[in-house]
């Protein structure tokens, strides 16, 4: 059991999905593939990856505790999303959805998961870049599933903006490589881009060049992570993609891009020995939270509402990494985990809402609770969770991040953050209570799907449980990962 095996699962599944089988068989392969992936990911991370980091392909691939968290996230959100998509697209899709289109969808879905796994498992910074660009290419077709005008527009903007951003990140990587080549003569060319190698020799890298490189990386991967002011593709893509795809985009794709930034953040910190990168992370993080506020307060589309909330939460995670220390890094990582589960739950329930009410407008929806009590409870608790209310999991991580800020004596940042979070909470509560309560039009409810409802149920249990109790292996994993970021175990 090793990293190549893990990576081969989604790759094989995607190819199997292309074979023109019957609809039901494709659907079975589609879900079974993610099930196998999830099982392997859990075994690999919690069994084999317990001690030292795992390496593969001559050190080009690596899995340490930090990657482990993201592997777990990708596999579990991927599993939930594929089960949901199995019903959402394969069963409910109208007769006008051709089997060919469904197969293409299943193919790109698993390729997308593969590229994300490759991103977090790559030790070679160049390979990581290739994988992140790959995620954009694979998911562009997932954003545009129905060939509507608005979906094509969203897919185009997504593709162009993210590719430009990523090109800037490549500039940063060339600078890092240049810094390595000019200062670390004698090393073999192939390993000069390896993160572990660079970190070990960080002292001898040129601090000025590393600072410059970090700026380019932050802008480049920040575009992909949805940090303001480079987030403009995000609400479009998230609102146009089908529910399960939005869940993947928001829950794990943004986190994977943040992962890329964090890897460079660690390097820059080690090379410059200053808080240069931390300050930049805090500034852009705070800006992201601030930018999200007006759009959340005055929003008419509930999927865009959730998308702007992703901008806010990626900003919060960036601030957590910026505060640093064991507390800040732990909080930020926990926040990414919690955000992945909570936001994907919300996007799944948004898929339900679209199915029940046939509209994306907040104003068009009233009385979810009356119509479908289960959905009402899940949606409303999801909204409470995402705005950081106890007893849900996001409260714990937001609290840790803020605590890290106070420990770090960043009072101004913390107070601004608290102010913005309060406003966002008010905005969410206003929209959600209007949607959930009250008497809606009593149209007959469409047929419910047990599988889709059970995905919501599982998500609900996860966000409640993580508020009270984080399973010990996961907790240890996050702690070890925050030590990796803090440079303790380097």
């Amino acid at each position: 059991m090793s990293i190549p095996w893990l990576l081969s699962v989604p790759l094989c599944t995607s190819l199997l999905c292309l074979i023109p089988w019957k609809r039901q068989v494709t659907r079975f392969v589609f879900i079974a593939g993610s099930l196998a992936l999830a099982a392997m990911a859990f075994i690999l991370v919690f069994r084999y990856g317990r001690g030292a980091s795992l390496f593969a392909f001559g050190g080009n691939l690596m899995m340490d505790a930090l990657s482990g968290i993201f592997v777990i996230l990708i596999a579990s959100v991927g599993l939930l999303a594929s089960i949901y998509a199995g019903d959402y697209l394969f069963r409910q899709a109208g007769p006008n959805t051709s089997p060919r289109r469904l197969r293409r969808y299943a193919f790109f879905f698993h390729v997308f998961i593969f590229t994300m796994l490759l991103t977090v498992c790559s030790n070679n910074l160049g390979v990581m870049w290739i994988a992140i660009e790959g995620t954009t290419l694979a998911s562009a077709f997932l954003v545009n599933v129905d060939d509507k005008k608005s979906s094509i527009e969203a897919a185009w903007k997504y593709l162009i903006l993210c590719t430009v951003g990523i090109a800037l990140a490549l500039f940063g990587i060339i600078l890092v490589y240049y810094s390595a080549v000019s200062r670390l003569a004698g090393g073999e060319g192939e390993i000069l881009l390896n993160w572990t190698f660079l970190l070990a020799k960080a002292q001898s890298l040129d601090p000025q060049i590393m600072k410059l490189a970090f700026i380019f990386i932050l802008v480049g991967y920040g575009t992909k992570a949805g940090l303001a002011p480079f987030h403009s593709w995000l609400p479009d893509a998230h609102s146009q993609a089908p529910g399960p795809v939005s869940a993947l985009l928001s829950g794990v794709l943004l986190s994977c891009a943040t992962f890329g930034i964090v890897r460079f953040h660690i390097l820059t910190q080690a090379a410059t020995g200053t808080s240069f990168s931390s300050v930049l992370l805090i500034v852009f993080g705070l800006l992201s939270v601030a930018v999200a506020v007006p759009f959340i307060l005055e929003q008419s589309d509930y999927k865009r509402l959730l998308a702007y909330s992703s901008v806010e939460h990626m900003g919060l995670a960036a601030i957590g990494f910026g505060f640093g220390g064991i507390m800040g890094n732990y909080g930020a990582l926990l926040h990414i985990v919690n955000h992945a589960f909570t936001k994907s739950l919300l996007f799944f329930s948004a898929g339900h809402l679209l199915y029940h009410f046939q509209t994306k407008h907040i104003k068009g929806i009233q009385g979810i609770f009356r119509k479908n009590a289960f959905l009402g409870i899940v949606f409303f608790s999801g909204i409470l969770a995402i705005s950081g209310m106890p007893p849900f999991s996001m409260f714990v991580s937001e609290f840790s991040i803020l605590a890290a800020g106070f420990l770090d004596k960043n009072f101004l940042v913390c107070f601004m953050l608290l102010f913005f979070l309060t406003l966002i909470f008010a905005g969410f509560l206003r929209h959600a209570s209007q949607m959930t309560f009250g008497a809606g039009p009593q149209a007959p409810s469409p047929k419910r799907s047990v599988l889709m409802d059970s995905v919501l149920g599982v998500g609900m249990i996860l966000i409640l449980m993580m508020g009270f109790y984080i399973p010990a292996p996961l907790n240890q994993l996050i702690q070890r990962a925050s030590q990796v970021i803090g440079g303790v175990s380097s």
């Binding site: 080009n60 070679n124 160049g126 390979v127 870049w129 290739i130 660009e133 790959g134 290419l137 562009a140 077709f141 545009n144 060939d147 509507k148 005008k149 608005s150 094509i152 527009e153 969203a154 897919a155 185009w156 903007k157 593709l159 162009i160 590719t163 430009v164 090109a167 490549l170 500039f171 990587i173 060339i174 490589y177 240049y178 080549v181 000019s182 060319g189 192939e190 000069l192 881009l193 000025q208 060049i209 410059l212 609400p235 479009d236 609102s239 146009q240 759009f295 005055e298 929003q299 008419s300 589309d301 865009r304």
Partner: protein, 218 residues
């Protein structure tokens, strides 16, 4: 051929490269833009090959051949095929007119020389090319932001990628082969996917002007 001669030849080619970038910005026809792009890529391949030959780096020569094949033949042909299929004959429409974008381009060249001077890079290969690479990158951005057609946006993206490639080749003798091959693969797949999307845009919007894309706001 002695090293001195090749060295000055590389510099001359760099000059031609800059002229080709100006050509992309100056030409009013989409087809002419693509031809200039092909010339640009051809010069890039020559420079890469010569740098590789001069410093005895075989993998740079391989990359040069790949550039020659992919960027001067395959990608322009794909572009021409798309143009024929879509039946685009009209001129390139731009938010800013061509004389003004040329002035902007000149300013961008000055800017890139000024900025890279500040960076104080001690280049391993040839330092003179760093400002050229940055200028190409900026030209690509200029093309992307000032043109209305979806296809010219893709062209701008490819121009940016050429700039990055030039930067990698001349600053550090190219990234490791594995990484460069992966980047080539991404560029090719990206160009194909964008091409497919251009067809879809054409189908849905009755034209490929991106300023019609105004559905999504807020």
């Amino acid at each position: 051929m002695d090293a001195e001669f090749i060295f000055s030849l590389i510099h001359f080619l760099g000059l031609l490269l800059l002229i080709a970038s100006f050509g992309i910005i100056a030409s009013p026809q989409l087809a002419a833009c693509i031809r200039f792009y092909a010339v640009h890529a051809f010069l890039l391949a020559l420079i890469t090959g010569l740098v590789g030959y001069l410093n005895h780096i075989p993998h740079l020569v391989a990359l040069a051949l790949l550039t020659l094949l992919l960027k001067t033949v395959v990608i322009p042909q794909v572009f021409f095929w798309i143009i024929r299929r879509l039946g685009i004959r009209k001129e390139v429409e731009s938010y800013i007119n061509i004389p003004f974008s040329l002035i902007l381009a000149v300013l961008l060249v000055f800017l890139s020389f000024y900025v890279t001077e500040k960076m104080r890079l001690t280049s391993i290969a040839s330092r003179e090319f760093v400002p050229l690479a940055v200028a190409t990158l900026l030209f690509g951005m200029l093309v992307m932001t000032s043109r209305k057609k979806a296809l010219t946006q893709v062209l701008g993206l490819l121009l940016m990628e050429n700039g990055l490639f030039l930067m990698a080749v001349t600053l550090t003798f190219g990234m490791p082969l594995l990484v460069e091959l992966g980047i080539f693969f991404d560029v090719l797949v990206g160009a194909v996917i964008m091409g497919i999307l251009v067809f879809k845009i054409r189908g849905a919007f009755e034209g490929i002007d991106v300023d019609q894309m105004t559905v999504l706001k807020g």
